[in-house]
Symmetry: C2
Subunit: 390 residues, 2 copies
């Protein structure tokens, strides 16, 4: 990003100002008087708010970016000191929770003081977002309101899907940490461990290397493959013959990596080896095609063709990757129905999957930054052959 | 809970059936034809879904509890195998994300087949909840719909605020794990550590002892007190004279503990010692009064009076505790404006705070289970005097 300083933690005020300025350009293009944001990732993106207080759903937090004035934070008193540390200067607070139990009147009053040029405010109404406040309060905001509230999510995604140098560095850092842990995994786990033990070990190893959190870590094992890839680990012991799948969403300074690795306990049967090899090549095909100007749906087709070249017919149109950043998954989707044009500085996963026989699923995944010269791996590439655990 | 088996992980199908049965009793009382749930804590509570896939906002998940038939899961295909492991038998799936980009039509069709006796469906519209789906999709659901969607959150909170024996055991387990870590903290951290280092050490120690996750861990330090209590740790070094505040929301099998501990690096000045002692007694007062039949607002008053007895005048009406369970914070609030009657088997925090001089804040917090015979500490009680770190 132009002019912005590189910091290991946080971002310069300048970088936030650039984000706001670009949001305001898009507000003007979209004929919106302001952007209203409520979700953690957006408050972090536009204001640099670094907290996990979101785990408490008691209070809403609001950040307003007006068309042509400075951003305004409308937040519960408990958040004031935290906001005072950011570049945001206009901060309004109210006591929350409070007697009236109404957390939206302060916001409404402030929004109604904004210049009304277009009659519309954009909010997080669309894909991959939701409004973080009680729906009753959101109704109250819209009731007899000077502005229509319309979908501002495309605007937000237009900004957030294209990363700055600093954002890419943070994703790379956590992707490298997790890659190291995966590379060493066969030496630290064994058939004495349950899925839960494995998850626990992996989390500790990731934290030891300096990541901040490991919010997502499915560990799934089963003979010949797994039937699902999103469940939390169970007490099932890792046994000889098991295929072991570990997916990871770990964060550094708010930014996620999202990739998986597969292992075999003992020796893999030939058909599993084959499925794994096919997916490795399918992933390679996806990575190779992540270049500025490519269309997501074409990348999906090429990955699919690669798998079909190996003699597998794909059913359905499951996606083969997605954006990653302040959320574990972000637009665009590498899918048959997504028309996004890949841009320089997007960060995406390539994530092809194969149900090579009924109930036996394998998924590969890597994280890639799209440079102007083509794809740059942020993860250490998975080995071509399934690593073995003894 | 009557008839339900004790399991360290998960719950018996019987316990889920009891939860659903009680929900249906409340649906009838509230003249609702069904309850629609979308958020992680509710899908875990009613169906036992154990995943952190929620980190991906790409797809909505729906669980419907009809007034007089079995619960119905309406979920993206990717979740089917996970739901098949639960006691839920009626499972409808659709491919998501998909070409049309519409994730609500399958749900709408299924809801419209339900018997329409009262014309209303309850959903997560109220306090401490929000709808986990794009607002545009929620609008689409309500558009030309056979049912009014009304607030079902009081019904959900009536169930979730009163815990089963198994739920209490899980909160106790994680509260005990974190208590142990806090007790040993002065021996594992030192003035060479930054706030981030301390957070990292605490997380690893908590995981080592068998907790699953540490989603919430503010670490804040400052001479004589802290000005805020919710921000993530920074690179600031812990220095002699610092007051150190650590709050913790760690989970075991989905259930949170939520309590803090305070430390002093070196020797505390007298006024800080005094403030700490006052809060210790205020906490004691809160715990003592957590008995079945007590009113939350009266407990708030008693805590406040205790602080004022020591000569401090309280400004404002900040809350002094809250429910805890599948969420870090849940109703009720121990506050001046909350009229909840404390019931047997509620689990709450007592959390008084004191700004003993401007910008110098101290907070104490414990987790308590309300037995029929009175309060039972789930945490190991904080020492009366601030533990010292050297």
């Amino acid at each position: 990003m132009r002019n912005a300083k590189t910091l290991e933690y946080g971002f310069s005020n300048e970088e936030f100002e650039i984000r706001v300025e670009r949001a305001q350009e898009l507000l003007y293009e979209n004929k919106l008087d302001a952007l209203l944001t409520t979700i953690p990732a957006n408050l972090r993106y536009f204001a640099g708010i670094d907290t996990h207080f979101w785990e408490s759903p008691t209070r809403p937090w609001f950040l307003v970016i007006p068309l042509s004035s400075d951003p305004i934070a409308v937040i519960p008193e408990i958040g004031e000191k935290l906001f005072r540390k950011t570049f945001i200067k206009d901060i309004y607070t109210w006591p929350s929770p409070n007697l009236k139990g109404d957390d939206v009147t302060p916001l409404k009053s402030i929004l109604e003081t904004l210049p009304n040029r277009f009659g519309s405010i954009g909010a997080e109404l669309g894909k991959e977002m939701s409004i973080r406040m009680p729906a009753l309060d959101f109704g109250l905001l819209q009731d007899n309101f000077n502005f229509d509230i319309v979908d501002g999510s495309p605007l937000i995604w237009a900004l957030r899907t294209v990363k700055s140098f600093n954002e890419i560095k943070k994703i790379e850092k956590v992707a490298q940490i997790v890659s190291e842990v995966f590379a060493q995994l066969p030496t630290v786990i064994s058939t004495d461990d349950s899925e839960r033990d494995v998850a626990n070990i992996v989390k500790i190893e990731i934290l030891k290397r300096g990541a901040d959190n490991v919010p997502y870590l499915p560990v799934v094992s089963g003979v010949g493959g797994v039937s699902q890839i999103i469940g939390n680990p169970t007490n099932k012991l890792i046994s000889t013959g098991d295929f072991l799948f570990i997916d990871t969403g770990a964060t550094f300074d708010g930014y996620f990596c999202d990739f998986d690795r597969n292992f075999i306990v003992g020796t893999a049967p030939d058909e599993l080896k084959r499925a794994n090899e096919i997916l490795w090549h399918a992933t390679e095909e996806g990575i190779k095609n992540l270049v500025p100007g490519a269309k997501t749906k074409d990348i999906w087709k090429k990955i699919n063709k690669k798998i079909e070249d190996f003699g597998f017919m794909i059913q359905g149109d499951g996606r083969y990757g997605h954006g990653v950043g302040l959320q574990l998954t972000e637009p665009p989707s590498i899918s048959s129905f997504d028309n996004t044009i890949i841009q320089e500085n997007m960060v995406l996963t390539i994530e092809p999957s194969l149900e090579y026989k009924p109930g036996k699923l394998i998924v590969h995944e890597e994280n890639i930054f799209v440079s102007k010269d083509g794809p740059v791996l942020l993860t250490k590439r998975a080995p071509k052959e399934l690593p073995s655990i003894s």
